[in-house]
């Protein structure tokens, strides 16, 4: 056994009173526990956001339905979007980053453990604040409840005049608070990666997951802050009589759009880049080959980060920018597809000539590749701005971004769950339930989101609580709703797997997948201090070098 692992056999620790255990969790500054807190809270919000989606889908099942009133529907799509982006996707990705980055660089914790805890709680409490709006949103005019201005809160809809009461203030404040939490975590990730790598781990020897989280964290610093700034401006308008977005005083509604999308576009890359990271760790292990083109993967990601800062107005093709602006953003948006495509080719290149094992993480990874390819191509379609003048603000866009977020991000997350759950808990997730989860979810996903492109092409706008019969949208919407319920069942299977395997799953051991990065060199779960002795590395795959001393990577790098 390697000298830097101390395993504590199950059963030898003393049982602790549950209050004590709860206190430990609430006051922890351990990156692994905070990672799990992020992930668990994200799963809770995922279920809530999912219920909101099902309410939307039931209402839209057929034309002129009245399952919910227009007011409730408008709150549902606002809360669904806001919840999923800010309280599911960002936290779960920060959670995995928190858990994995220190382990993968051979560190004992993040650079600033207390800042880490503070950032998590800011983020979580932001989520609670958002949901408190259901109770507290009514304000002076009795006009509120949860926010209903869409997750972009376009001006002037978010102004006092059009959103009396406090509902949209809950949106603003919840995101402002959790935004500061995100900035704190991003600073922590950057400081950890730059300052705490173990000896020998030069920047070009870091696992790709670490590299990509570094890029993501840098983007958070530059992308979340414009939103924070815009929200401060909105609060000044709403409470101090400011005129930032007050069109009656000469203010500009378009300025809000620019500020929002300067945040909003890089944000979606902030969400997808950690998923690229998962793929770059998982696909090599289940193809039994190193990632194809490590330096190119790093360069492509950095390239994506930079170019993605210049594409934001492709969300604004319909607002009446002049033809030169529209052409510019068409060009940059198409351009960002190039490094993104390169990454897809490199993953396929990794699988090529490999020995592919179809364990559940790999099934979800292959699903990711297929779906992200399609999502990228529908993105290129909308990059052609005239095409976007038809597709924008329709269900085609809704289908596209759900293809990215559910078909891409969520599939990659499922892969990550199945891959790293053994490390986090010491137990394997059930392969049988995993395969049920995968196939059910795949079927439901494609039923819903493949079909959803069609109503968009047939002229169905988004954010409508009902629609006219006779436009050809009815049957499609019904099938889309059915697919949503199939996905819901698959999620239940997944949650069942998470819970049952915790108690009855096979013991994982240190390295169930025969993988190559540092987290697999310590016990499952790792001890609080991660490594008894801080490791030293000589290549990108330190465990490969250990397992294959006759042919180490260090010879080829």
């Amino acid at each position: 056994m390697s000298s830097n692992v101390i395993t504590v056999p199950v059963g030898q620790t003393e049982a602790r009173p549950w209050v004590d255990e709860l206190h430990q969790w609430l006051t922890t500054v351990d990156h692994k526990r905070l990672g799990i807190l992020y992930i668990v809270s994200a799963l809770l919000f995922l279920v809530i956001g999912g219920v909101e989606a099902l309410i939307i889908r039931i209402q839209l099942m057929h034309s002129h339905n009245n399952f919910v009133s227009p007011e409730v529907f408008n709150r549902m799509f606002t809360m669904h979007g806001t919840t999923m982006i800010f309280f599911v996707a960002m936290p779960v990705l920060f959670g995995f980053a928190n858990y994995l980055v220190p382990l993968m660089i051979g560190a004992r914790d993040m650079a600033f453990p207390r800042l880490n805890a503070f950032s998590f709680w800011l983020s979580f409490l932001g989520g609670l604040l958002l949901y408190f709006s259901f109770v507290g949103g009514s304000g002076l005019y009795g006009a509120g409840s949860a926010p209903d201005v869409g997750w972009w809160s376009y001006a002037p809809l978010g102004a006092r005049a059009f959103s009396p009461g406090h509902s949209s203030d809950y949106w603003t404040l919840a995101l402002l608070v959790s935004g500061f939490g995100s900035i704190g975590t991003a600073i922590n990730i950057i400081a950890t990666i730059l300052s705490l790598r173990c000896p020998g781990m030069k920047l070009n020897r870091m696992p790709l997951l670490v590299w990509l989280n570094l890029v993501m964290a840098g983007m958070v610093l530059l992308a979340i802050t414009p939103l924070s700034a815009a929200q401060i401006m909105l609060l000044i308008d709403r409470y101090l009589g400011g005129h930032f977005f007050d069109t009656q005083a000469g203010g500009s509604a378009v300025l809000w759009m620019h500020f929002f999308w300067i945040f909003g576009h890089p944000e979606v890359y902030i969400l997808i880049i950690p998923c690229f990271a998962f793929m770059s760790e998982i696909i090599p292990v289940f193809s039994r080959k190193p990632i194809f083109g490590y330096p190119v993967m790093v360069a492509a990601t950095v390239c994506i980060a930079f170019v993605s800062m210049s594409v934001w107005a492709h969300h604004m093709f319909t607002i009446g920018m002049n033809s030169y602006a529209n052409s510019f953003f068409t060009l940059t948006t198409m351009a960002v597809g190039v490094p993104t495509g390169i990454k897809i080719f490199n993953w396929i290149g990794t699988m090529w000539g490999g020995r592919i094992q179809f364990k559940t993480p790999m099934l979800f990874s292959i699903g990711f590749l297929f779906q992200f390819l399609i999502a990228g191509l529908t993105g290129i379609m909308m990059a052609a701005s005239p095409f976007d003048w038809q597709l924008s603000l329709s269900y085609f866009v809704v289908a596209h971004f759900h293809y990215v977020i559910v078909g891409g991000i969520l599939f990659a997350l499922f892969a990550a769950f199945y891959y790293w759950y053994p490390k986090m808990t010491g137990r394997m997730l059930s392969e049988k339930l995993g395969k049920w989860h995968f196939w059910l979810f795949l079927i439901g996903f494609h039923l819903t989101f493949d079909l959803m492109h069609i109503p968009g092409i047939l002229g169905m706008p988004r954010r409508i609580y009902t629609y006219e019969p006779g436009r050809g949208w009815d049957t499609l919407n019904l099938l889309i709703t059915i697919g949503a319920f199939i996905q819901a069942i698959a999620i239940l299977v997944f949650v069942a797997n998470l819970i049952l395997s915790y108690f009855e799953g096979a013991e994982a051991g240190n390295d169930p997948w025969d993988a190559w990065t540092l987290e697999w060199s310590t016990s499952s779960p790792p001890p609080a201090y991660n490594f008894a002795m801080v490791p030293t590395v000589a290549s990108r795959r330190p465990l490969w070098d250990q397992k294959h001393p006759e042919d180490p990577d260090s010879r080829y790098e």
């Binding site: 227009p70 319909t318 529209n326 198409m334 592919i356 290129i380 092409i457 002229g459």
Partner: protein, 333 residues
């Protein structure tokens, strides 16, 4: 289904054909330029999809783990600069081609000069209805736009100036043009030159509040004579029918005048639609209901029954007053 050039869905109550909302059934030059470009883009992305998908399937099938591999790792290949170069250069070329094709259409649609024969219409978005003004013809109407058929040999396109009285909206009639937003303090411009007569439908596409879903659009493309007779009818002063004077008094005495304008009365409100030629419209409440006696009565009595969240308040009229004012409305042809 969506590749057919025709997309006639039904007949409108007045017998004209009602077209659908399929972006691939263009009936006007902007929509057609977009549809043509879209087919080109679809073809290119389709080819990319087939190629990459084939590579993915091939690798999944050919390189799957087999029993004979047990215990041996495959060749550890780290990368290949030539391959990376190839699959960088080819996508860049594709982007260049796509961009050039797209830029042409952007300029053709957005920078099209306005010919002297064009019809000017000002569209003003409201929560939750459309105001249409024809400045050179002296016409003010709501929700249902009438525009002339455009003959390619002698084009008479319609150029719309897009404004907003409150929040952001978007004018989207898919078979006539791509959508353009109506944003307060930010005038926009779009055009269409419809090549087929009939009614083209659409609706607001930018979320504008509670009843965004029922801010429907109805564009009637009329042949030259039909259009001319519509214009004449709209330009006529309001019908003054002595038989409904009681109803007219109800209209004038209640708060209706704060929001509505109606020729032949002092009413000059701009918050709600101009009612002077109300009965020339097939629908009320921006398409939320057909313009029938019962719907009109219900709408005035309680707008929330038809469009909850609409900004028209229930006027709380007595039944007698309600019947009177409806009778008055029904004379406004």
């Amino acid at each position: 289904m969506f590749w057919s050039a025709r997309s006639l869905w039904a007949a409108a109550p007045d017998g004209s054909s009602v077209h659908g909302t399929n972006i691939f059934s263009p009936a006007s030059t902007p929509a057609k330029s977009i549809a043509d470009l879209s087919v080109f883009v679809l073809a290119i992305t389709g080819i990319i999809f087939v190629v990459v998908f084939a590579l993915l399937i091939y690798s999944v099938v050919k390189f799957r783990e087999r029993a004979m591999h047990a215990g041996r790792e495959p060749a550890q290949v780290y990368g290949s600069m030539q391959i990376e170069l190839a699959w960088t250069v080819i996508p860049i070329l594709i982007v260049v081609v796509l961009f050039l094709a797209t830029a042409r259409v952007i300029h053709a649609v957005q920078d099209a000069p306005e010919p002297a024969s064009a019809l000017d219409v000002i569209a003003i978005g409201h929560q939750y209805w459309w105001e249409f003004r024809y400045p050179k013809l002296g016409i003010v109407t709501a929700n249902e736009l009438h525009i002339p058929l455009s003959d390619p040999s002698h084009p008479t396109p319609t150029f719309l100036q897009l404004l907003s009285a409150d929040t952001d909206h978007s004018f989207w009639v898919p078979e006539l043009a791509g959508k353009t937003d109506l944003i307060p303090n930010h005038p926009n411009r779009m055009w269409m030159d419809p090549r087929r007569t009939g009614v083209f439908v659409g609706q607001c596409a930018q979320y504008c509040g509670t009843q965004h879903a029922k801010m429907l659009l109805r564009v009637s493309v009329d042949g030259p004579e039909d259009f001319a007779s519509w214009v004449r009818a709209q330009q006529k002063p309001a019908v003054e029918d002595a038989g409904v004077i009681a109803g007219r008094r109800v209209f004038e005495r209640n708060a209706c005048m704060n929001c509505h304008a109606a020729g032949g009365t002092p009413a000059d409100g701009r918050f709600g639609p101009d009612l002077t030629h109300l009965m020339s419209r097939a629908t009320i409440a921006a398409g939320a209901a057909e313009n029938t006696h019962d719907n009109l009565r219900l709408w005035i009595q309680n707008p929330s029954a038809i469009k909850p969240g609409s900004l028209m308040p229930a006027m709380k009229l007595s039944d007698a007053d309600l019947d009177a004012v409806v009778s008055y409305m029904e004379t406004l042809h």
